[in-house]
């Protein structure tokens, strides 16, 4: 019985009874209040409409039960696993935490696939059974507690109902509180990001294999997969180089497209081309990565080989690798064109028309007006757009994973395959990872650095944008 409950895919079935209970409470509250005897005095008028009484009762019923379920979702599984882990026989625990984690993973996977057949391994089968039983117990407790909470809430709430009860006030307060919780989730996300990154980074630096902070930030030797060298300078260099190459494409193309679209193009042309440019931002990065690796990278390599074959270049002047920083940078540049162009477009359009008219009136040509009046006025906004684009380029992952290669090199040759921070994070955390090796933790340290850098760029950019907007509004 307990075992069956443990195997059930019960999580999604819980929502239905909860909703049903809420609906029942709602209609009950609504009719109950409506049926109260109507007094003759003015004070006996309903304070709130019957609907609000219904909502009030529904909240009283659902919210406590939902909290119980939330608590179960957050802590139930952990509790079950911890209990099972403590019950494992000694000879298994003696094999070390990695083996236990692997075993537990296999057990939970087996249960979550709802296979009931025995595998033949006695310990494994017993663990699977025990796990299902424990899970069933935890679920029963959670369901019991939720029913109790719902009933308790329902009856407590029902005692409150009366014609003069200000149900609307309570309902609206609850709604406002719920709305606030939703808004706070955004903050919680940031807090979660910062806390988890900081925590894992601290663990990385304090782990026995981990490097010192100085070595991490300024060491030039990176070999996290096999060795224990965690000098991240080659990664920072590669990230910067590819971002720079990308900006070399994105800034001129984005800026000139924005200028042309906002100052020269006919409305008809604009209405066609602008969505096409924005389409560039909607294409998934993995598609760009495929394109970079299958078409651009071979072209770059062919070009590099052509340069090498020129009479006046040394034989191995360019590295001509099958994946290269240049290929990744070029494609990434195209990807961020719309980020530069649409933001620049906005700020260029926000430059007041009288400025242009003044310049044109004293005889400047259109391009002179743009170069000497409009662009300087829009400069802060354009810089903000470029900063946001840089932050996007630094954090871009799939294109570099697919087209830039994984060698930690410091070289100025754009046709060589250099690695980036994001590439290393992916390669360190993909596949089966234990959370306590220096190898895995180094990914979090890299992530923390990445977060810090992009946060800096974003904050500066947002500040510039805000300041600039205030100047013209």
């Amino acid at each position: 019985m307990l075992q069956t409950i443990g195997h059930l895919p019960i999580g999604w079935l819980l929502i239905a009874p909860l909703a049903a209970a809420g609906f029942f409470a709602f209609s009950f509250g609504r009719t109950e209040v409506g049926a109260l005897p109507i007094g003759s005095t003015i004070g006996a008028r309903l304070h709130s409409q019957p609907n609000y009484h219904g909502y009030f009762l529904a909240f009283c019923t659902i919210l406590p039960a939902a909290m119980v379920f939330l608590a179960y979702l957050m802590f139930g599984e952990t509790y079950v696993r911890d209990t099972l882990r403590n019950e494992l026989p000694d000879y298994l625990t003696a094999r070390g935490p990695d083996q236990i984690a692997l075993f537990m993973e296999r057990v939970t996977n087996y249960v979550s696939h709802r296979t009931i057949e025995d595998t033949g391994n006695i310990l494994f089968d017993a663990s699977v059974d025990r796990y299902a039983i424990l899970k069933g117990q935890a679920r029963l407790v959670a369901i019991g507690a939720a029913i109790a909470a719902a009933l308790g809430g329902f009856f407590l709430g029902r005692r409150q109902l009366s014609r003069s009860f200000p149900a609307r006030v309570y309902v609206e307060r609850t709604i406002t509180a719920l709305l606030f919780v939703c808004a706070a989730i955004a903050i919680l996300t940031t807090v979660g990001i910062v806390l988890s990154l900081v925590y894992e980074t601290l663990r990385f630096f304090s782990s026995p294999d981990g490097p010192g902070v100085f070595e991490f930030l300024f060491g030039t030797n990176w070999n996290a997969q096999t060795g224990q060298n965690f000098g991240a300078v080659p990664l920072f260099f590669g990230t910067l180089m590819i971002a720079l190459l990308a900006m070399c494409v994105a800034v001129p193309v984005g800026l000139f497209s924005a200028i042309y679209l906002s100052e020269y193009a006919s409305p008809r042309f604009r209405s066609w081309v602008k969505p096409i440019l924005e389409l560039l931002a909607g294409i998934p990065t993995v598609v760009y990565g495929f394109f970079a690796a299958t078409l651009i990278a071979p072209l770059v390599r062919g070009f590099a080989e052509w340069v090498n074959a020129l009479p006046f270049t040394p034989e191995n002047f360019l590295a001509a690798q099958p994946t290269s920083a240049l290929a990744a940078g070029l494609v990434m540049g195209v990807m961020i064109i719309p980020f530069v162009s649409s933001l620049s477009d906005d700020v260029i359009k926000a430059v007041p028309q009288p400025l242009r008219d003044g310049a044109l009136a004293v005889g400047a040509t259109k391009s002179e007006t743009i170069k000497q009046v409009v662009l300087p006025a829009a400069l802060p906004g354009i810089i903000a757009a470029i900063l946001l684009a840089v932050s996007r380029a630094i954090g871009e992952t799939m294109i570099v994973v697919m087209a830039a290669g994984g060698r930690a090199l410091i070289t100025l040759d754009p046709t060589s395959d250099i690695t980036t921070v994001t590439y290393q994070i992916v390669s360190l955390l993909t596949g089966d990872t234990a959370f306590d090796s220096a190898r895995t933790l180094s990914a979090f340290a890299l992530g923390f650095t990445l977060f810090g850098i992009t946060l800096f760029f974003n904050l500066v950019a947002l500040r510039v944008v805000k300041k600039y907007r205030e100047a013209y509004d």
């Binding site: 096409i276 993995v286 760009y288 977060f451």
Partner: protein
Amino acid sequence: MTETGLPSESVRDDRMRRRNQAERRFKLYGQIAIGFAVSFLFALLISIGLRAVSAFSHHTLVVELPASELAEPDNLDVTDLNLAIRANLLTTFPELAEDRTERADLFALVPRLAVLPLVQDLQSDFPAEDPLSVNLVMSDDVDLYLKNDIRLHRSTRVGQAGRLAQLSTGAYRLSDAGQDSFISFQDQLAATSAADQDILIDLSGALFELVDTAGASLILDHLAGPVPELGEQDARPVTAIYLGSDSANRQLSARQVAILILMRDAGIIERRFNASLFVNADSTYPELAGAAAAIVGSVFTMLVTALFAMPVGVFAAIYLEEFAHKSRLTNIIEVNINNLAAVPSIIFGLLGAAVFLNTFDLPRSIPLVGGLVLGLLVLPTIIIASRAALRSVPPSMREAALGLGASKSQAVFHHVLPRAAPGILTGAIIAMARALGETAPLLLIGMVAFVSDVPTSPNDEATVLPVLIYKWFSGSERAWEPMTAAIILILLTILIAMNLVAVLLRRRFERRW
């Protein structure tokens, strides 16, 4: 001309001309920039489309099985069917039955697991016809060869066969019918540097490989097809087939190519629509792999993302736009949301790995975790879009509702929200499209695991389309590339459809107040 400081007319014209040139140049730069961006987009789409086309069809081999000799439908398994298929292939090519390597060459054309869908079909519904004609997927190398390399084949008439004699080494010596045509063939060979490609010799339905020449005779290795009995008087035509490749840069052996030529001439190879791309789950064999599991995984993941991010995002926007008082806290939330929208997506993957996997001990690779991570990722986008939509509803709307005695939340939920709904929905769809294309954070929470079953709930191990693109892209066989391009097309089609819906919604409900 000499009056004052004004420049002469010619100088002024000259300067004006240069300024006008600068003007035209500047305009041209803008056109070039737009042209570059647009043509790059088309290059991307066309290059992917061209690569994808071949993956939508594949070659199948028609094999006739003796239905009466097959095991009972209930006990039928992959091994039985493979035995039957192999027996059938050997009746078609009896000359290959003797030698083990020759048999292996023949059997390798059809992968062992190609019968898997057939086994399921037969188990549920065993047809009455006998012999049973079935279509089997051919291996990826065969498929690619038939799609591309076979176009390099060139046949030429060489001459008339005289005598065919087997040597002690097992090779054959084919002599000329006496017209010296083999000599001119050899001269031609020497002249055209055709030596770096393999050459097959077709002798009335039997295929040989040209290994050497001896005087006016050709030394041949038998590949496939029945060896004809040739006496002195038989003057049968001899045809040479230049393969355009040699065994080093070809995935198939010369014998396999010969078998394929014979099969094709016999009309038992068909090119069909590759339905397995949409129906099958992932596989380690490209010819059997499909995107069905990833599509279902994507649906589950998007479901979780939508159920989490849309209500939370919209409610957060309502709070910030309608309820919040200007305070330090709301200010922080605002800055924070704008920042969060620009945080690299891979950071969200780290968050998911650290919080959901490590702290809450949730299993890896499940759409539930993936959907939550993507939900957090698109939350700021939804909030920002919803706020813009709410802001575009004129204040008079709220004031009228409040003036008639509605409470704040009545005014918002009954009057403002319905007016803002199309805008909110548009933003939400665009955000979902972004989540659908996201790859990096999902790699970090283990959604790259090999999943060979179609998931049935958000708690099953699964992968999603963009991750499958990455996985197939990383596969080493050449056949993965067109298949990757094909599922990219599927993904792009879905994304474009979502964006179109968003645009149409905006057009349909756009109102200026």
